[in-house]
């Protein structure tokens, strides 16, 4: 576990405590979490967490939702986000060809809590998580409710749906097979292309692609772009983390808003509803109609912004 860590300017580093151990019992000695805190110095801190391809800069991956004068307004709030342990950012992760311990969503949540301790943030004004980030937001709210004033979970549930797990298993197997053949990154391209097909709804794909060749070109391009950023080792760490996600929503004693998408195949609206029924302090449960499936959280920026503006009021 020793990927060369090179930090661009402006990245903050939290050295994880020496006794930070993973839920699996394994350790990450000397691990660091990279973060960015974007906004006025003494403003309320809002943590924003995204999917497995997201990083510590939500102004980049959540355009239309996070930024100056947007719903998550970086002129009013200090927006905090982190790079995932084991992921492709500047947090500790696997180097080429290296094995890496299993990292659970609970581990990511504790890493975020370590960053809050490091920054002296006693309580987040709000914790907003989407997709993988939503899983981790649920975990942090469950283990440390006193650190979160308000929770918003977008396109995430208390566990992975079996169908989503099946697709992810296939993706992992593709990457493993490719790695054994010395073509790990080609495996990542294909796995991501498969994932993209599951992120969108059948209706949207049908509407958008009248020719298969255009669809395949799109899948190929998305796969390549992802494989340029994420290594095979990093992909497997986060992919496995999603599948193993488990949290008891009854332990989430924080005022909570849940957002689901009607055409989401990965996190079906019914799963979000199940979580909503179990949360002890549900403030709102919103189902947004969309043709974009799971990617609705990235595409339906107006609707998502409307919900988050209420959370942050």
């Amino acid at each position: 576990m020793s990927a060369a860590l090179t930090l661009p300017p402006g990245v903050g580093i939290c050295h994880l405590p020496a006794d930070f151990s993973l839920a699996s019992g394994e350790e990450l000695p000397g691990a660091v979490v990279a973060y960015e805190l974007d906004g006025p110095r003494d403003a309320p801190v809002v943590a924003v967490l995204g999917g497995i391809s997201a990083d510590r800069r939500p102004v980049s991956w959540w355009r239309g939702v996070v930024g100056r004068d947007l719903a998550v307004d970086t002129s009013r709030f200090a927006v905090l986000s982190i790079d995932w342990l084991g992921g492709h950012g500047c947090s500790t992760g696997p180097g080429p060809g290296e094995s890496f311990p299993f990292v659970s969503t609970g581990d990511q949540a504790r890493a975020l809590r370590a960053v809050l301790d490091h920054l002296g943030v006693e309580r987040l004004h709000a914790l907003i998580g989407a997709s993988y980030g939503g899983m981790i937001a649920l975990q942090l709210a469950a283990i440390a409710p006193e650190r979160v004033r308000e929770l918003a979970v977008v396109a995430a549930a208390e566990r992975s749906h079996p169908q989503a797990s099946a697709w992810r298993w296939l993706q992992r197997e593709v990457v493993l097979l490719a790695q054994r053949g010395g073509e790990g990154q080609r495996g990542v391209e294909l796995a991501r292309a498969l994932a993209m097909a599951t992120y969108r709804s059948p209706a949207e794909l049908a509407e958008r692609f009248s020719e298969s060749s255009a669809l395949f070109d799109w899948l190929r391009a998305r796969g390549r772009a992802f494989a340029d950023q994420v290594s095979a080792e990093q992909f497997r760490v986060l992919n496995a983390s999603i599948d193993a996600h488990r949290v008891d929503p009854r332990a989430v004693r924080v005022r909570s808003t849940l957002v689901g998408f009607d055409s989401d195949q990965l996190v079906p609206a019914a799963d979000v509803e199940r979580v909503a029924r179990a949360l002890p302090e549900l403030a709102a449960h919103v189902v947004i109609p969309t043709r974009y499936g799971h990617d609705g959280f990235l595409k339906e920026t107006a609707a998502v912004s409307g919900v988050l503006a209420e959370v942050l009021r």
Partner: protein
């Protein structure tokens, strides 16, 4: 690891050793042919606090310790030494010169005559010992041994010689740099081409002192806290006067920027600050406004070296907690960060072992 032919003892000079001596002229020492990945011979120099812990950790390992040397003598047995007995002897405060069968020869000669596959030099860092430390490494290298270093002075004196060229991959510095040495060795080719500057927080003692001050202690109370944790060098001025930090800086800057034909700067002459230059009031004020203070050893882009207490933002990689060291290298792509947790006797001993194990694995892979 390619072993060079070992000189016979007769070739080492006019020695008049007793022929019954285990280290005598008829003793060439066991030398692995390099063809078998089986047990490898090891010579420990410096059975002090770190060295004894290193020996304890060898139980069940592929290493056979055939020699142990302290400042007074060497104990040698081609079949392997009774490490428990040696450890007990040293813990009792006794020099090896009073251990049965010990030979009072110079350390360099002992290294050459023992001719072990691995030489582990666990002697503490002392500026006055720098040339002798380098001599020990050179003696080991003449015999083709892999060397694992704990002390910093040999590296500070001759980093390019020890880490580059024909010696590349044969000197382990994981313990020397607090657990960040192996990464430096691995990335050295890249750093030598691209690095423009470096900064390190390499002295945990001062971090402990600063953290104590931030929590309301005086400088002397901070020193006592570091002492209680066993962090101070035997010569505490090395920590308190910034000499330890300067030595690490000279060592690393030599590795990254140095050349064999250039004399290394004297660490003692690097502009340094003492812990007594700290202003506790200022340290606490920084802490209140969300920053911290660290003793930062820097090589600036101009080539200038300095060791000074700096205000460090809390998100900086240099804001290392008091259980680790951090080395940062300024590259065009950003700041490369190496972190080391080999602080204290146990972890330093473990870092020496890491170097030996890595070298052994490398040998086994080459044979295959």
């Amino acid at each position: 690891m390619v072993r060079s032919p070992n000189p016979s003892p007769a070739a080492t000079g006019a020695l008049s050793l007793d022929t019954t001596s285990k280290l005598g002229p008829d003793t060439v020492g066991f030398r692995s042919s390099g063809q078998s990945p089986g047990r490898r011979t090891l010579h420990l120099v410096g059975p002090g606090a770190v060295g004894r812990r290193f020996l304890t950790g060898l139980a069940g390992s592929p290493f056979r310790v055939l020699a142990v040397t302290d400042s007074t003598a060497t104990v040698f047995d081609r079949e392997g030494l009774d490490l428990a007995a040696i450890g007990a002897h040293k813990v009792a405060g006794e020099p090896l010169a009073t251990f049965a069968g010990a030979e009072s020869v110079s350390t360099e000669l002992a290294i050459e005559l023992a001719a072990a596959d691995f030489v582990v030099d666990a002697t503490p860092s002392r500026p006055s010992d720098a040339l002798a430390a380098l001599g020990r490494v050179r003696a080991a290298r003449r015999g083709g041994a892999f060397v694992a270093l704990a002390g910093k002075n040999a590296l500070a004196l001759a980093a390019p010689e020890l880490l580059l060229g024909s010696n590349r991959g044969t000197v382990g510095i994981q313990a020397t740099l607090g657990g960040a040495g192996a990464q430096l060795v691995r990335e050295l080719p890249e750093l030598r081409v691209h690095c423009r500057g470096l900064a390190l927080v390499g002295n945990v003692t001062t971090t402990v002192i600063i953290e104590a001050i931030e929590n309301g202690a005086s400088i002397d109370e901070g020193i006592a806290a570091a002492d209680a944790r066993g962090l101070l060098e035997p010569d505490r001025s090395l920590d308190l006067e910034g000499i330890d930090a300067a030595t690490k800086l000279v060592a690393v800057q030599g590795a990254v920027f140095g050349e064999r034909w250039l004399a290394a700067p004297d660490p003692v002459r690097v502009p340094r600050q003492s812990v007594y230059d700290l202003d506790p009031h200022e340290v606490r004020a920084r802490s209140v406004r969300g920053a911290t203070t660290r003793l930062v050893a820097r090589r600036l882009a101009s080539g200038q070296l300095r060791v000074a207490f700096e205000e460090v933002p809390v998100g900086s990689p240099l804001a290392a907690p008091a259980d680790r060291v951090v080395y940062t290298y300024d590259l065009p792509a950003g700041l490369r960060v190496h972190t080391g947790l080999a602080v204290g006797y146990e972890r330093t001993a473990a870092a020496l072992r890491e170097d030996c194990d890595a070298a052994l694995r490398h040998c086994s892979e080459e044979v295959r």
